[in-house]
């Protein structure tokens, strides 16, 4: 019957092998150890990818990593256990498993990446992938050992296979954080490693030829199909996050989505999260509290009464919401943000939801997804406080939200004695832009007190505190839990250093959009 020697001892060895194999030609053992090595490397990379995505996207990295590792190892156990049920065509099965790992592992990160943006049960999808990959990887080693069995002495076999296995794991553990993720990003890492697996599978059709018989074409075609799918994935990967984008951000891109309105990217690094809209940093989780305390609390204590009804324009990250909900007087908050993609992310993306303390679930909060200017036209006119937190005016669509027309509209919607605060870019880096916002608010009839503070990840940042009538800037920080703002910090914010002091500017109006022009010319110098 001419069965290969290693198979002879296996149960069911009496079955005919794949085609008429030539007299037991020994397998090239050293090359197969390389196989073991690559398989181990790839397997661990998938595990690390799953753990990383899980902890980045779902938060609580300890839980996510323990879950992923535990499940992965036990799934490998299941795979090893299942391997005994493979009786026939060991070599063929080995290659098939290899290709399956290549495919499932290779597409895992892209699918999880897209899946997070689209699917409610992300966690299940994640653990599903971990389980399937674990089982397949668990199948691989026993099959390989059985293929070499009889050809090498058992003690050598065990020692060499396990050595290569653990060495592969070490290489994966080093490559993953040092080379793969920084250079390729998560999505491409997954696809490239999948390609590695598939290449090994294809190579295997030659290496294991003695055990495969003649019918290898089918296997090779399958290998090529898997490779084609993964290469296709690499080409498509640009839709998820571009190559340039992965390299542009210092930290790992863990979430990227192009909504109808903008590109939202979340990165994760040693110091925490960063949220970018169209490539511009919106906040860094490490120091955003300074920005948001400064944005919100001065306005909350600048009005005549403790505010009950508060309007937030922009601020889809929910961080301004978090701050103003600390005030017990607040009864109702309406947040108007153009992009449902942003407000949904802030609700459904656990790390962000933790950062904003689930503020979107607060029953006092109503979310409206509309253009703030269009919405304001028909809005009620009873807001005690309005917090205006739009992205910087780097295009005309945003520039209109800083015009005299806009501020007039806003002023007409305030309750008597109400107060407003407006984020107004940097008085240091974009000095004319900052003062243009202040003067435009004044031209709209507001009495404005400009203020500024340092936010390390942004630089010096400026705001305007305004009311329809003359008022003094507040002297006391509110009695709510704050990290940055106290009476001293509050007082200091209203003082400007010599290099930030007012410069002559034109008023930003709908038909001149001066601010966009100032902003472009000023920021160009810093980029």
């Amino acid at each position: 019957m001419g069965a290969a020697a290693p198979d002879a001892a296996a149960p069911g060895a009496a079955d005919p092998p794949d085609g008429p194999a030539p007299a037991a030609r020994p397998l090239p053992a050293p090359l197969l150890y390389i196989n073991v090595f690559v398989v181990a490397t790839c397997g661990l990379v998938y595990e690390l990818l799953a753990g990383t995505l899980g902890s980045y996207l779902l938060g609580d990295s300890v839980t996510q990593f323990s879950l992923v590792i535990g499940l992965y190892l036990s799934a490998m156990g299941v795979g090893a256990w299942l391997s005994r049920r493979v009786d026939k065509h060991l070599a063929r099965r080995f290659i098939e498993v290899e290709l399956a790992v290549a495919l499932v592992g290779g597409v895992s990160a892209p699918i999880l990446f897209v899946g997070f943006a689209e699917i409610a049960h992300f966690q299940l999808l994640l653990l599903g992938f971990v389980t399937v990959i674990g089982i397949l990887v668990g199948l691989e080693l026993p099959l390989l050992m059985r293929l070499l069995q009889g050809q090498v002495e058992f003690k050598d076999l065990v020692s060499r296979v396990l050595t290569f296995d653990y060495a592969g794991a070490l290489v994966a553990a080093l490559l993953f954080p040092m080379l793969l993720v920084p250079e390729l990003g998560l999505v491409r890492t997954s696809l490239v490693v999948g390609l590695g697996n598939a290449a090994i599978g294809l190579w295997g059709t030659w290496l294991l030829a003695p055990h495969l018989g003649k019918r290898v074409t089918g296997l090779r075609v399958r290998a090529l199909i898997v490779i084609a799918i993964l290469v296709g994935g690499l080409i498509q990967a640009d839709h998820m996050s571009t190559w340039a984008e992965d390299r542009m951000y210092a930290d790992t891109v863990v979430y990227a989505k192009t909504t109808a309105y903008q590109r939202i990217v979340v990165t994760r690094g040693p110091s925490g999260f960063n949220l970018f809209l169209n490539g511009n940093l919106q906040f860094a989780s490490g120091d955003e509290y300074r920005y948001h305390e400064a944005l919100v609390h001065p306005a909350m204590v600048a009005g005549d009464h403790p505010p009950k009804r508060v309007l937030v324009l922009g601020g889809g990250d929910g961080l301004a919401l978090r701050e103003l909900l600390k005030h017990p007087s607040v009864e109702a908050v309406t947040l108007v943000d153009l992009d449902p993609g942003m407000t949904t992310l802030s609700t459904a993306f656990p790390p962000l939801a933790q950062l904003n303390r689930q503020s979107f679930s607060d029953p006092r909060v109503t979310v409206v997804n509309d253009d703030a200017m269009v919405w304001l036209e028909s809005a009620p006119a009873n807001w005690d406080v309005a917090i205006v937190d739009f992205p910087d005016p780097n295009n005309f669509a945003l520039g209109k939200l800083y015009t005299k027309r806009f501020y007039r509209l806003l002023k007409s919607k305030l309750a008597p004695g109400g107060a407003v605060s407006v984020q107004a870019t940097s008085p240091l880096f974009a000095r004319r832009s900052f003062w243009c916002v202040m003067e435009t608010m004044r031209a709209a009839g507001f009495v404005v007190h400009p203020y500024q503070l340092a936010v390390p990840s942004f630089g010096v940042w400026g705001f305007g505190l305004a009311r329809a009538e003359a008022f003094e800037p507040p002297a006391h920080a509110p009695a709510v839990a704050l990290r940055f703002l106290d009476d001293d910090a509050l007082g200091a914010m209203f003082k400007f250093s010599a290099d930030e002091k007012p410069v002559p500017v034109e008023i930003n109006q709908l038909d001149n959009q001066m601010l966009v022009r100032y902003y472009e010319s000023e920021w160009r110098k810093w980029q």
Binding site: D371, A397, T403, R405, L510, D511, N512
Partner: protein
């Protein structure tokens, strides 16, 4: 039998585009051809005899205004503002507005014709009053001129131009302009500034709004005897970029090429809107264009009766008698005064004494206007000039499109674009050539034209409605501005007064308003 779809597209946009859009095979686009009064107008024209009105169908009013366009509504508005409450407006169409009418979808209102006016100076009393009534004046500038509400001043960016596969900022292509091009532009500007500041012995400007306030000094009016093209040639202004811009201006405002436009009118376009050298008066606009002003005027006048085609107006002892065709037969209206606020070719047909007088009629050009409903915006290429209010396609016979959502600030999501196509050729020839074209032909043309600048547009279009204005606007051809027939056509005949933009020789809101208010003043003074 009208032309096939492919022939039609080829006729309007050229053969390559017709081939590219697949002609007859293109999918059908939802929408309809909008009635612009031609049905009832032609029925009226083809009437053999003036129908007799049964006794029971005669009524009486103080002043009857015939025609619910800008001129007619302004006359009625001004009469009311000055205490005459017994004014009735009759309009042939289903809706008022004439060529300044508008429409609306659930997304936005949009124009069917006129889409902007120029901010008035302090001495344009009626225009200023119209803005004041709407609370749309936010202050006064150093010249004492009103500053129109920022929300109505055309939002920046106002224009961009498609050229060689890119959108560039503004209307004049400055990228790639040679030193000579720029020198010529500067010389052109200087020449316009000179005319903008020119005054006659009596201190009247050569170019101002309205035309009736312009100097009739021969130094200025001599410009009417040559074409704008010839005038530019004489100044040595031959730069292709400049000539494209001046041609565009003539097509946009006058439905003519510069070579056929009166030089006086050509200079008027540029000079009359200058406030001081180098600075223009603001462009004022609404999502539905001048239909917004129509709605305001219509809300301020007395009864308006639509679907009433006036077929006869005659002076009788003690006033006028008007006969009109309602859907259910003829009706008669007796009044002390009538304001005939219809185009001159219609006035000639319905006013008894005019019918007899004969004479040359002013030249009228045709327009096609389409409203293109989009469920989302086409993709924009990074680095291109961003979407503007007016988006001009440089090498198209169309003028491109105006976005109805731009002014309000809705920059994403569904919108309506108004596409304009002038026919600078002979109006009669155009009307004949296009007769029989159905909605399918028009819609295919509109989409083909827009798809060349927005490739993903066809999939975003949900509806295309098209209006064909056969007699869209009066045109200031050479010699037409200071033509005696025109100038005398505005004179009242007894109690019959005349108001229409074509009495100015050019089609502008301000001109129609000027004549409406003048007719009202004639009545108030009598």
């Amino acid at each position: 039998m009208g032309p096939s779809r492919r022939e039609f597209v080829a006729m309007l946009l050229g053969a390559p585009l017709a081939a590219a859009c697949g002609g007859g095979g293109a999918r059908t686009i939802e929408g309809s051809l909008v009635e612009t009064g031609m049905g009832r107008g032609h029925a009226m024209r083809d009437l053999r005899a003036i129908p007799a009105v049964p006794d029971g169908r005669w009524r009486r009013t103080g002043v009857i205004v015939i025609g619910g366009g800008v001129a007619g509504l302004s006359a009625a508005w001004w009469l009311r503002r000055n205490g005459r409450t017994d004014v009735t407006v009759v309009e042939l169409d289903d809706v008022v507005g004439g060529t300044a009418r508008g429409g609306a979808s659930s997304v936005t209102p949009y124009p069917w014709g006129a889409h902007y006016v120029v901010a008035p100076r302090a001495d344009e009393a009626a225009m200023v009053a119209l803005f004041e009534e709407q609370g749309a004046i936010e202050g006064h500038d150093a010249h004492g001129d009103p500053i129109i509400d920022e929300a109505l001043r055309c939002r920046d960016p106002d224009e961009r131009i498609w050229y060689r596969g890119r959108w560039a900022d503004g209307l004049y292509l400055s990228a790639g302009a040679s030193a000579e091009d720029l020198a010529q532009l500067a010389r052109f500007d200087a020449a316009i500034d000179q005319w903008a500041t020119w005054r006659d012995a009596a201190g009247r400007p050569a170019f101002t709004v309205p035309v009736s306030a312009c100097s009739t000094d021969p130094t200025a009016t001599a410009l009417d005897r040559e074409s704008f093209g010839a005038w530019l040639d004489r100044q040595g202004l031959t730069s292709e970029r400049l000539r494209w811009m001046t041609d565009y201006a003539c097509r946009d405002d006058y439905d003519l090429l510069a070579a056929d436009t009166s030089a006086w009118a050509g200079i008027y376009y540029f000079a009359a809107r200058r406030r001081a050298p180098g600075s223009s008066r603001a462009v004022v606009t609404w999502p539905d264009g001048n239909a917004h002003l129509i709605a305001h005027l219509a809300s301020k006048v007395g009864p308006i009766e639509t679907k009433l085609a006036v077929v006869d107006v005659r002076a009788v002892a003690g006033g006028v008698e008007v006969i009109a065709l309602a859907d259910d037969g003829p009706v008669g209206i007796r009044a002390e005064h009538a304001v005939v606020a219809v185009p001159r070719h219609v006035a000639r047909h319905i006013v008894a004494t005019r019918r007899e007088a004969g004479g040359v009629l002013p030249d009228c050009g045709a327009w096609a206007v389409a409203n293109v409903h989009l469920r989302d915006r086409p993709r924009e290429r990074p680095g291109d000039a961003p979407p503007a209010w007016d988006n001009v396609i440089r090498d198209s016979p169309s003028l491109g499109y105006v976005s109805a959502t731009h002014q309000r600030g809705r920059d994403v999501g569904p919108t309506v674009w108004t596409w304009y196509y002038p026919f600078p050729e002979d109006g009669a020839v155009v009307r004949k050539r296009l007769a029989g074209a159905g909605h399918g032909e028009w819609a295919a043309t509109v989409v083909a034209d827009l798809a060349r600048v927005h490739r993903d547009l066809p999939d975003l279009v949900t509806r295309v409605d098209v209006a064909f204005w056969g007699h869209g606007m009066v045109r200031p051809r050479v010699g037409a501005m200071f033509d005696l027939t025109r100038m005398s056509a505005a004179a009242p005949i007894g109690a019959i007064h005349f108001a229409h933009t074509d009495l100015s020789g050019m089609a502008l809101f301000e001109e129609a308003l000027d004549h409406g208010v003048r007719a009202a003043r004639e009545i108030l003074a009598s």
